[in-house]
């Protein structure tokens, strides 16, 4: 037996994933009675000729267990590598920083508004990822969120967290008109 095959036969991330899928299937079976509402009335005693709301979830739970068992069996012969383990420190740091920036961005967007929140996010992220032209970075950070904000809120008449620029942008500009026309679904 070659060392490669020995490596392949050992317990690997696919084995762990398979066990998780089986556990998910079993958990699904267990929660079905508690997580699916019962009908208030039995429609005409439909019984056998009516698909119960629990039937499809039970099938899917069964599929998880069966496929999970198959996957478990197959996993010992798979030679795939766990790419998460291959990530170096730089990659892990960058992904974590980006996730943190995303979380902060949600908060900033809700409390400072879309334009200010986005401007801070773009400037921070672009600087972290290597942009050293700060003037360009600042310009892009302010201009792009403003354009996106105007596009979505004025002509397309949707909503983005407004503060602090909403008051400053005119409600009606001639340049909105062609785009407003697009969002008017009654034109057809």
């Amino acid at each position: 037996m070659t060392s490669e095959t020995e490596t392949a036969k050992r317990f690997n991330f696919n084995t762990v994933s398979a066990v998780i899928f089986i556990a998910l299937g079993v958990a699904l079976f267990l929660v079905i009675p508690h997580q699916i509402d019962k009908p208030l009335i039995n429609l005409g005693g439909a019984g056998q000729s009516h698909l119960d709301a629990e039937a499809f979830p039970q099938m899917v739970a069964g599929i998880f267990v069966l496929l999970g068992a198959w996957y478990l069996f197959v996993s010992f012969s798979l030679r795939e590598h766990n790419e998460l383990r291959k990530l170096d420190l730089e990659a892990i740091t960058n992904v974590i920083v980006t996730l943190a920036i995303m979380a902060a961005y949600v908060w900033l967007m809700l409390f400072l508004g879309f334009v200010a929140g986005s401007a801070i996010m773009i400037f921070t992220m672009s600087t972290y990822f290597g942009n050293r032209n700060f003037v360009l970075g600042a310009l892009v950070s302010i201009a792009v969120p403003l354009v996106v904000f105007v596009l979505f809120t004025k002509p397309l008449v949707t909503s983005l967290p407004p503060f602090p620029v909403d008051e400053l942008i005119p409600e009606s500009w001639i340049i909105y008109e062609p785009l407003k026309y697009l969002s008017n679904k009654s034109i057809f």
């Binding site: 499809f56 030679r79 790419e83 961005y105 990822f129 290597g130 062609p178």
Partner: protein, 505 residues
């Protein structure tokens, strides 16, 4: 259907709107080519983040806009593939076999032009075939009742899940995850609450848009930021140099383009195969049919034409199973399903019956988009060549704000942003563990209609489902019988490939 086709013309050429339709298609093509030309930025990501824009405009404007992004993105990937041997999209990998060699010979302009003309020819021809096919297939699809629909959906899901992932069972498991996520909310028959776990925000189900953007756009961003952006490509490397393509050279590639268009069109109709396979098959077929196959790989115009005609010829025909049966053939068409559903147009047999003229108007617009395609592509080739050097450090956060803004405008609900990030992180981990999320999205979208059709079948069968299917619904019985055979064949292929290459991922 012919009346619907004619009505489609009058809807499309409504003088009040026709200009805007074409303007938006041009914008879509431009954006698609721009993103496609950026190595590391895929057409899928562009479609996912631009999807919300299409929600707030009429489908005749929004869907052609997305189709423009789709077409432009597939072509745009060939630009860095030819100039710097970095395929902008997976579909352009086969273009790197001959494109960079042509650039080294000082024939970059010829290579880019043959890529454009082959792409447009493949796309245009396959779009016309799409319109010709869609009517008859939709007419047959209309004869299908719930048992047939359920059987077709089930078979398609298995095919897509089985072919999308290197390891067969992993594709099926992702499909099961999608089916489970699709069950969250209300059951499609009795509207009973399921798996909401007391969270009010998901009482009506997981919203499709944040999930799609999260699954398909954010993982691309995470992969791109693994290494900090570095300007490895110098602007001087991107000179679009050399003589222009001559008519004689284009004509000499005619047979290759026609063959690749045929291959791409056929592949497009089959769910789960896609542009990458089409490009490789088109290239291989051109090489084996050539009198000088040894020249392939050393800078042969036919090599570029073969790959590009084949990958673009896939675009239109992927809409055939989507619009007639409601089956998205690949991850790009999953995004298009999102656009259709957002407009209250659920792809499937009923769509052609209820909205035939509108669907044909969109398809005719798609055919005419090729005229814009050739103009924008031809005029902007030098500019798109420079796009390769645009700083990733600035583009990545901009992509992020589009993803977040697009998610927010859907319901103005902060929970949607959480769903976006959760599915983004899930999609990234899935990719790193060799799971393909396309079957998940398919299961999520097609699970509820399949359950509904299954429920109707159970009711129609009055408890004797086996007898009902076998004796009263022979077409459904054929699909049911064919499913295990097809499943076995896909599984055998998957095992064979795994034995050959260790893994097909």
């Amino acid at each position: 259907m012919f009346e619907a086709f004619l009505a489609g013309f009058s809807i499309l050429f409504n003088p009040e709107t026709v200009f805007m339709t074409f303007l938006l298609m041009a914008a879509g093509l431009f954006l698609g080519m721009f993103v496609g030309a950026l190595p590391g930025f895929t057409t899928l990501m562009a479609l996912a983040i631009l999807l919300p824009i299409s929600f707030f405009i009429h489908p005749l404007l929004g869907i052609p806009f997305l189709l423009g992004v789709y077409k432009g993105g597939i072509y745009g990937g060939s630009i860095p593939a030819i100039l710097v041997s970095m395929p902008g999209t997976g579909a352009a990998v086969a273009t790197t076999f001959d494109g960079p060699a042509l650039t080294k010979k000082g024939q970059a302009r010829k290579a880019l032009e043959i890529a454009l003309f082959a792409s447009v020819t493949g796309d245009l021809t396959s779009d016309i075939v799409t319109i010709a096919l869609i009517g008859p297939i939709a007419a047959v699809a209309l004869l299908m009742g719930p048992p047939e629909l359920c059987a077709v959906l089930f078979m398609s899901l298995i095919v897509i899940a089985g072919t999308s992932s290197g390891v067969f069972v992993k594709g099926l498991l992702m499909l099961a995850v999608g089916l489970f996520l699709g069950m969250i909310g209300q059951d499609p028959i009795g509207a009973l609450s399921r798996f909401s776990f007391g969270i009010a925000e998901i009482e009506a189900g997981i919203p499709l848009l944040p999930m799609l953007i999260g699954l398909f756009a954010l993982p691309e961003i995470f992969v791109s930021i693994e290494k900090k952006a570095s300007q490895i490509i110098q602007a001087k490397d991107l000179k679009v140099s050399g003589a222009r393509l001559t008519w004689a050279e284009f004509r000499s590639c005619g047979r290759t383009i026609a063959r690749s268009t045929g291959i791409g069109t056929l592949i497009g109709v089959i769910p789960g195969v896609g542009q990458v396979v089409a490009a490789f098959m088109g290239y291989a077929a051109a090489k084996s049919a050539s009198k000088t196959p040894e020249k392939f790989g050393t800078g042969e115009l036919e090599g570029v034409a073969a790959a590009e005609a084949a990958n673009n010829a896939v675009n239109g025909p992927t809409l055939v199973p989507l619009l007639t049966l409601g089956i998205p053939g690949d991850n790009l068409t999953v995004i298009l399903v999102g656009a259709f559903i957002a407009h209250g147009l659920r792809p499937g047999p009923q769509l052609m019956e209820q909205q035939g003229p509108l669907v044909f108007a969109i398809l005719i617009a798609m055919v005419l988009a090729n005229i814009l395609f050739i103009f924008i592509g031809y005029l902007c080739i030098p500019m798109f060549a420079k796009v390769v050097t645009v700083r990733k450090s600035l583009l990545l956060p901009l992509t992020l704000i589009f993803a977040f803004a697009g998610t927010w405008v859907f319901r103005s609900n902060p929970y949607d942003l959480a769903i976006l990030v959760i599915f983004g992180a899930f999609g990234y981990m899935a990719r790193k563990l060799h799971f393909n999320v396309t079957p998940l999205a398919m299961g999520f979208i097609l699970g509820p209609p399949m359950e509904y059709a299954f429920g109707q079948t159970v009711t129609l069968a009055q408890g004797a489902i086996f007898n009902y299917i076998v004796f009263e619904r022979p077409i459904a019985a054929v699909f049911v019988a064919a499913t295990p055979i097809i499943t076995y064949l896909i599984w055998r292929r998957s095992v064979r490939l795994r034995q050959q290459f260790g893994t097909t991922d």
